[in-house]
């Protein structure tokens, strides 16, 4: 039943109409592959109500839209007080590019909203003010309760039009919450909305890890008085016990091709990195020495695994090269470096380093150069990359409880995305759904 409903909602959201743009598609306005992205000035006039709207809907759409655009970290939003064309709904027919150029906008985004019975439709038009061209426009229709999802879809489309790459606002973030007293795995949208717990077994559930297809999650649960590895399928809610060797079956990481699982298991009086097949069988021991190893993370080409080992007393990050079997040390500064997360673009590894007063999120290149500190305030742990290789979600404690925050690797944010009295930790950003 659940699945049928999901399918229905999905189809209801299929784009209704595409306004033909004046220019050929495929121009990259913003190169997010460049080391330092220049942010663009975006004019976003007030959302136009194209008919009567349910109470509060316009404000909600406005809020979600603005928040997504800010978190995308591609724009400076221009001050509306100076906007030309009054309250006129700007379309490709009446746009006055000169007037928008005069307020130094580089892009113009206009959004209309209309409710019809139980459904709602929303549309956007995106203009390149500098070139004086209409870039694209689309309309979406769906159930009223799904209006936030429609806005996320719209922002993702705007970003795709400008950067040529997929946006992140329809992806999910898994995390650990203690709101029920024990630790459960929960899911939420990127903006912190639509939260729901997916484990709910009253036990201790930790370390969520997405399958590369985004359809299932690995996590570790203590239900059988041992940290065992489970796989939870999101559509069916089926849970499968994958690995239950005595000792930890934990801190799992799926290989990018989904064929293998790297994880921590018991060695001889220590913990080692092992590889399992996708069914959790046929363990192969990857590392072998006296020290503890934990937290494997794969390079996107599947040829290297970064992990944490404590052979130099404190935990440091090392890289295992699968073709040669060689291990090299990556981090040297700081006494305590942990939680490596290899960017899906491959160029950086995010990690947490202990500083005076707490932990901070850093990035480092896989060759050990270009170490950058990304966080300043509070104690910050467990970084996880968005599939765009640019945004990072992490857990932060600033006096009270742990909440989830988002930053970009090039200095944007932080933006707080959860707001609770419980502790929200160990975020794992989902891949793009295939």
């Amino acid at each position: 039943m659940q699945r049928i409903k999901c399918l229905y909602v999905f189809f209801a959201f299929v784009i209704g109409l595409i306004f033909l743009p004046a220019t050929v598609e495929g121009i990259i306005y913003i190169d997010i592959g460049s080391p330092q992205i220049r942010k663009f000035y975006l004019a976003l006039p007030e959302i136009k109500d194209l008919g009567e709207l349910p109470h509060g809907m316009k404000e909600e759409v406005e809020k979600v839209l603005t928040q997504d655009l800010i978190i995308s970290d591609l724009f400076y939003l221009k001050d509306r007080a100076q906007f030309p064309q009054g309250t006129v709904y700007v379309t490709e027919e009446n746009v006055d590019f000169t007037a928008w150029k005069n307020v130094e906008a580089e892009f113009l985004l206009t959004v209309g909203l209309k409710a019809e019975g139980d459904t709602v439709s929303t549309e956007f038009r995106l203009f390149d003010v500098v070139q004086g061209v209409y870039i694209a426009g689309k309309r979406y229709r769906g159930e009223q309760e799904g209006v936030r999802v429609m806005v996320h879809k719209m922002v993702d489309e705007v970003i795709k039009q400008l950067t040529g790459e997929r946006g992140i606002f329809q992806t999910k973030i898994a995390f650990v919450t203690d709101r029920l007293g024990n630790k459960e795995i929960a899911l939420m949208d990127v903006d912190g909305n639509n939260e729901h717990i997916i484990t709910n077994n009253s036990s201790i559930n930790i370390s969520p890890e997405w399958h590369p297809d985004g359809k299932s999650l690995l996590y570790t649960c203590f239900r059988r008085r041992n940290p065992d590895l489970y796989q939870l399928f999101l559509s069916s809610k089926n849970v499968v016990l994958l690995s239950a060797a005595p000792g930890p079956n934990a801190t799992s990481a799926w290989s990018p091709d989904g064929k293998r699982i790297a994880l921590m298991m018991r060695g001889s009086d220590n913990t080692e990195i092992y590889l399992l097949d996708s069914q959790g069988k046929n363990p192969v021991q990857l590392t072998k020495s006296w020290d503890n190893k934990v937290s494997p993370t794969w390079s996107p080409d599947g040829k290297q695994i970064a992990f944490v080992a404590d052979r130099s007393r404190g935990p440091q990050i090392y890289i295992f090269d699968l073709p040669t079997g060689k291990i090299r040390r990556l981090t040297y500064e700081g006494k305590y470096n942990c939680s490596p997360a290899w960017s899906p673009k491959g160029d950086k590894i995010a990690f947490a380093r202990q500083e005076e007063g707490g932990f901070q999120i850093y990035t480092i290149r896989p060759d050990g150069t270009d170490v950058r500190r990304l966080t300043r305030e509070g104690s910050n742990e467990s970084p996880s990359w968005a599939p765009n290789g640019r945004h990072i979600v992490y857990a932060s404690r600033r006096g009270g409880n742990y909440e989830l925050y988002i930053i970009t690797a090039d200095g944007g944010g932080p933006w707080k995305v959860t707001s609770s009295i419980s502790n929200e930790t160990e975020p794992a950003w989902a891949p793009w759904l295939q």
């Binding site: 201790i204 930790i206 934990v294």
Partner: protein, 185 residues
Amino acid sequence: MVRKKSFVLVMLLVVISLISFTGCQYELVKKKRLSPEEERALREEQKREEEKRLFEESLAKKEYSGIEGEVWESTQLKDIYFDFDQYDLTVDARRILTENAKVLVAHPTVIIQIEGHCDERGSNEYNLALGEKRAVSAKLYLIKLGVQGSRLSTISYGEELPLDTGHAEEAWGKNRRCHFVILSR
């Protein structure tokens, strides 16, 4: 000589007084026949019974929410504590483990699980490894003190089961510990 005489006198008095309790006559006869070795064995048996009784009294059932099975805790098996990010046993920890080992040697049927715990600082993942190493440190030391390895299992709870949920050293110090639970008596 004087000591021997007085000893005989005392014994005589004891015997007379015991004989006067006819109900105890049989006991007396039996006791008289015990060799010193047997007496020692009897005393040791009584001591063992007493230790067993005290140990039984020290036990309390412990249920962990969301974790299958029931275990016991004994007030005779004391927690040991660690420094931050360390799994080496401190002098205090060794002293406590020596006491714990005596208890385990005295109760050879008892099978325990050593739980390794950490404070909240550092990654949850690394702390899971650290907790494992702490439990192993305690296990190896108990084996060195004569406890059979087959009676000792380990589990790491990392930072997931803090004793004190505070966010300062006072709480952290209590949480960096090995706790001992009894799986089977």
